[in-house]
């Protein structure tokens, strides 16, 4: 989230699209209700189903799963055509006026640079035209034919209301009503907030779904302001923290990335990481990358990371091909290329696409370690549970370890919420039986391996033997010590230019501006610097004071970066530094300083006349309507059909689906077609359950006890399916048998002249826990991911449905 949960109450329009906030995040959704009641806000819901969020919406419109880019590109077209953009904002804070290189183009569904053989792009033409100093050329009058504004205008021109309706199945009148509501927030003092989640990410074009909306928000001047922003509601309680700390195949703490094979030396690595400003004077905060990296290596390896060994640069693994994400990992596993696998609080048997493939792959492992508070399906994949998990244990040679862990109530520590707040929590009781913390278990595995390497040697033991482990209780480091290590400290006295000591050796640091690249500071996660200082544990703060009740609560817990609550808040004020919305200012320039209720994006003394952009992590300091080379499938979003779709791509039939997506051969062979599987299916969560955990909780099992799917009345009638009757739902990959909920909330959509039926598949059931046994939605889902992030396409695929009889008990 760029903004906070409570800040949603400041919105004038709330757009819930690509998510189902009421159902998945009820307690955060209260701020939508607050916006409606206290701020007169309109709630707009765009969703294939009439959801619980839609039940309290002012306007609801249906959309075919997987067509959000067409819808939103049409919105951009509408805003430009009707001139409903916030001109001053767009001119000052976005790259609308920057000029794109000659040679960039888009034709028949492909951008320039496509390489058919590798399904990828040479992205070199997707960039600005630079002047002799290496700065991007600009035309802020937007006359230049290759300025971003004009290229974008041309790109979205095809998305007429007729075309949007033809692709999305959304009735034109509803669509135009929504366009007008969205456009109403182009007024400087009005804001729209975008609330989204997996409904946008779980597509083969997931990242571009979100990008398209971000472009809408930039055009409306809604980023950085109260009641605005792009708000990814996110999933698990600490998914934000795990992303921040970089527990992803190529990631490092604080959004640094591991080196690739093309970066054999520390200097080549630094060259691509240290962004040079693309416009004069811009902050371009990644200029400080070396400070973050060196300080991190000092935290990791202490004295063993030295200038003369490039801070142990070679001790980190280098990445050879893209991501080793879950889809690749299980493809490797299915091919016998992975021997061991550790699932820490993770249940891939339920969570990953194509369950049949997951089950088969796990059976090829030599060993599987499952750390979990609960008895998960993954830890019992080898056991025969009948049709929900058919298995022949005798033929499965995998050694399986089921390790009991503590849960939230039994440990101290921090979670980062979707608004980037780090909140400390306290242990209430001991864990049952012999359950242990993840910290204890990981330490136990590490110490045993370290001893073996110390005693017997083995493959490259240096990083294992030299890993910094200076904890009071090595067998189970105290969370406070780990939190301090992430915050960082001075390793020697830090001095300013005059030689005066600013931070004494050993002291905790106050902020990442104190980090150095000479090995005199250590910090395990630079964006968390300031969270645990000599003033104490800032994450444990509990002062809920909220100036002007504007939803900032700056002294509650601690927010990264630098306790900033609203990202890009510089953009909440106009070029001169006055708030766009004088009723809800965040920061303003008072003539000598930026002051207000939040921590400004950059040094509070930087004058508005210096024209430093609010988007400090971007090299040009501006919000990007044109993404340069950052996206796999193009610098502008384009509508591509889901990999399983009943419709042609009416914009460019030859390029139907994302041309830059990575699809493994066996997964491609498992795609179904619309002849055999004529209906569009989409998976989702129900409010009564959290993923596959709460079926273990009795109350939640009572509230939603049994697997079912949802179909519209028209399709039910066609197929003779009765309310609550049994059905057999199949995809190319598998079959589930469960009950049907025949509902008025799903109606056929008219797509390109054809009625298209959508079937809803809630995800929560499996074969362990207290709820009734189920097959699980991932029995059906395809194994293909977004081209940038490899997030699986759970939201749009093809199925068939037949009436069936109740299974024999």
């Amino acid at each position: 989230m760029t903004n906070t949960w409570q800040d949603i109450k400041n919105a004038n329009v709330v757009l819930v699209m690509g998510g189902n906030a009421a159902e998945a995040h009820p307690c955060g959704f209260k701020w939508v209700i607050e916006a409606k009641i206290e701020n007169g806000a309109k709630l707009v819901v765009v969703d294939p189903r009439f959801t619980r969020t839609a039940s309290v919406a002012d306007v609801y419109a249906p959309i075919r799963p997987g067509t959000d880019i067409a819808f939103l590109s049409g919105v951009i077209r509408y805003l430009l055509e009707k001139d409903r953009i916030q001109h001053e904002y767009v001119r000052a804070f976005t790259n609308a006026g920057l000029i794109v290189k000659e040679g960039f183009g888009f034709e028949d569904g492909l951008f320039t640079g496509y390489k058919e053989d590798t399904h990828s792009y040479d992205r070199s033409s997707w960039d600005y035209e630079l002047d002799e100093n290496g700065f991007a050329k600009a035309d802020n009058t937007w006359q230049h034919p290759r300025c971003v504004m004009n290229l974008m205008r041309k790109h979205v021109d095809r998305y007429t209301p007729e075309m949007v309706s033809r692709i999305c199945g959304t009735p034109q009148d509803k669509y135009l009503q929504i366009c007008e509501l969205i456009a109403s927030t182009s007024a400087p003092e009005k804001a729209l907030t975008s609330l989204f989640a997996l409904g946008w990410t779980q597509h083969s074009v997931g990242a571009q779904n979100i990008r398209t909306m971000a472009m809408v928000q930039l055009l409306l001047g809604n980023i950085g302001v109260a009641g605005g922003g792009m708000n990814a509601l996110r999933g698990h309680s600490n998914i934000q923290g795990l992303t921040d700390i970089g527990l992803l195949s190529n990631a490092m703490p604080g959004y640094m990335t591991l080196a690739t094979d093309n970066e054999p030396s520390f200097e080549t690595y630094m060259k691509t990481r240290l962004f040079k400003p693309l416009l004069p004077g811009q902050t371009s905060y990644w200029q400080n990358y070396r400070k973050f990296f060196v300080s991190f290596q000092k935290a990791l390896y202490g004295g063993a990371a030295r200038a003369d060994n490039d801070w142990a640069y070679d001790w980190l693994p280098k990445v050879d091909k893209g991501l080793y994400d879950i889809i690749r990992a299980f493809d490797m596993m299915a091919n016998g290329e992975i021997n061991g696998y550790i699932c820490q609080g993770f249940n891939p048997m339920q969570a990953f696409p194509d369950r049949g493939k997951i089950r088969k792959a796990l059976g090829k492992l030599k060993f599987l370690v499952v750390m979990d508070p609960l008895d998960t399906e993954t830890s019992r994949f080898w056991e025969d549970f009948g049709p929900q998990n058919p298995s022949d244990p005798a033929s499965i040679q995998t050694e399986v370890f089921q390790l009991p862990t503590t849960c939230f109530a039994e440990e101290n520590g921090t979670l980062v919420n979707s608004a980037r707040w780090l909140q400390w929590h306290w242990k209430a009781a001991d864990a049952p039986g012999e359950a242990q913390t993840d910290i204890w278990i990981m330490s136990g595995i590490y110490h045993r391996m370290r001893e073996m390497y110390r005693k017997d040697g083995g493959a490259f033991p240096d990083p294992i033997l030299n890993l910094s482990w200076n904890y009071t209780k090595p067998a189970e480091p105290d969370p406070e010590e780990l939190a301090k290590e992430m915050n960082g400290r001075a390793l020697t006295d830090l001095k300013d230019a005059t030689g005066a000591v600013t931070v004494h050796a050993g002291r905790l640091l106050d902020g990442f501006a104190q980090l150095r690249d000479d090995g005199t500071t250590a910090s395990g996660c630079w964006i968390f610097t300031g969270s645990f200082t000599e003033m104490g544990n800032q994450m444990a703060r509990r002062d809920a004071t909220d100036p002007r009740e504007q939803g900032i609560a700056p002294n509650w817990a601690w927010s990264w970066p630098a306790n900033r609550r609203i990202l890009y808040n510089r953009a909440s004020a106009d070029v001169a530094g006055k708030a766009w919305n004088p009723q809800k200012p965040i920061i303003e320039w008072n003539g000598s300083l930026w002051t207000g209720i939040d921590v400004p994006d950059y040094a509070p003394t930087i004058k508005p006349s210096d024209s430093i952009g609010p988007f400090i992590m971007n090299a040009e300091g501006m919000g990007r309507l044109f993404a340069r080379d950052q996206m796999a499938e193009g610098p502008f979003p384009e509508h591509y059909e889901p990999f399983e779709s009943p419709s042609e791509n009416v914009l460019h039939p030859k390029v139907k689906s994302n041309p830059a997506a990575r699809v493994f051969a066996s997964d491609r062979a498992a795609f179904g077609n619309a002849t055999d599987f004529p209906y569009v299916a989409t998976t989702y969560r129900l409010t009564e359950h959290f993923h596959y955990w709460t079926k273990h909780a009795l109350i939640n099992a009572v509230l939603q006890p049994e697997e079912f799917i949802e179909i519209g009345e028209v399709l039910a009638k066609e197929k003779g399916i009765e309310q609550g009757g049994w059905v057999r739902l199949s995809s190319k990959r598998g079959v589930i048998v469960c009950k049907a909920y025949v509902t008025k909330r799903i109606k056929p959509l008219l797509v390109d002249g054809k009625p298209t039926h959508v079937i809803g598949v809630p995800i929560h059931w499996g074969f362990t826990g207290q709820a009734r046994k189920g097959y699980g939605a991932n029995t059906l889902t395809p194994s293909v991911g977004d081209a940038n992030t490899q997030t699986p396409e759970f939201k749009a695929f093809l199925v068939n449905i037949e009436k069936t009889s109740a299974p024999v008990a």
């Binding site: 209260k30 999933g235 596993m333 993770f346 109530a409 979670l415 595995i445 969370p479 968390f528 273990h696």
Partner: protein, 198 residues
């Protein structure tokens, strides 16, 4: 009386007889002295601990109530969980999952002991932590030593280990996550992911 049918009247009289006779027989009569009737408030001296809901990333503040006052001889046992009214986001509210956190803490399918399933067998057997961790470390070291890639074909130092992978827990704390990162990367793991996408 107007909508009382003959049939209903008879039915009611029948029921009335049984009930009246019991009432008249006085099974409530001995309780004529009015007793305190409200259920005693169950949290009066329970220990209150502040925590964060384990489910979604709204991260609602919660109050965990446990039996006992943390005296040496009292074993804390969680008896109730409700929302933290001070928390700026949830302001005391909780969703149907958060309101039932007690049932996940005490789920009958919570794991209590390390268990091990040997190749080809059809059961989990309880084992000691030392057995489990030593066996895991041994298997991991064998695999790492056999498959570690120190240099790629071009001779570049790459120091990666691809044949063992890990999924990290997105409900684990930052501190557990950071320690996990350190350990996994010190081994050279790249097949490393979390729930960010699912």
């Amino acid at each position: 009386m107007t909508d009382l049918s003959r049939r209903g009247f008879i039915k009611l009289t029948g029921a009335g007889l049984a009930a009246s006779s019991l009432g008249a027989l006085g099974f409530g009569f001995t309780g004529e002295a009015l007793a305190a009737s409200v259920r005693p408030f169950k949290l009066t001296h329970a220990t209150e601990t502040r925590n964060t809901c384990t489910y979604c990333s709204v991260a609602c503040g919660i109050l965990i109530y446990s039996l006992g006052d943390r005296a040496k001889n009292a074993k804390s046992n969680i008896i109730h969980i409700e929302g933290d009214p001070d928390h700026p986001v949830n302001r005391g509210t909780l969703c149907p999952k958060g309101s039932a956190l007690l049932d996940i803490v005490h789920a009958p399918t919570r794991l209590h002991f390390p268990k091990y399933r040997a190749p080809g067998t059809n059961e989990f057997k309880q084992v000691s932590w030392d057995f489990a961790l030593t066996r895991i470390a041994t298997l991991m070291k064998q695999d790492r030593d056999a498959n570690f890639i120190a240099k790629n074909d071009a001779g570049t130092t790459v120091n990666r280990w691809l044949s063992t992978g890990m999924l990290a827990a997105s409900a684990a704390s930052n501190e557990a996550a950071y320690l996990t990162w350190k350990v996994a990367r010190a081994f050279g793991m790249l097949v490393f992911d979390n729930q960010a996408r699912v």
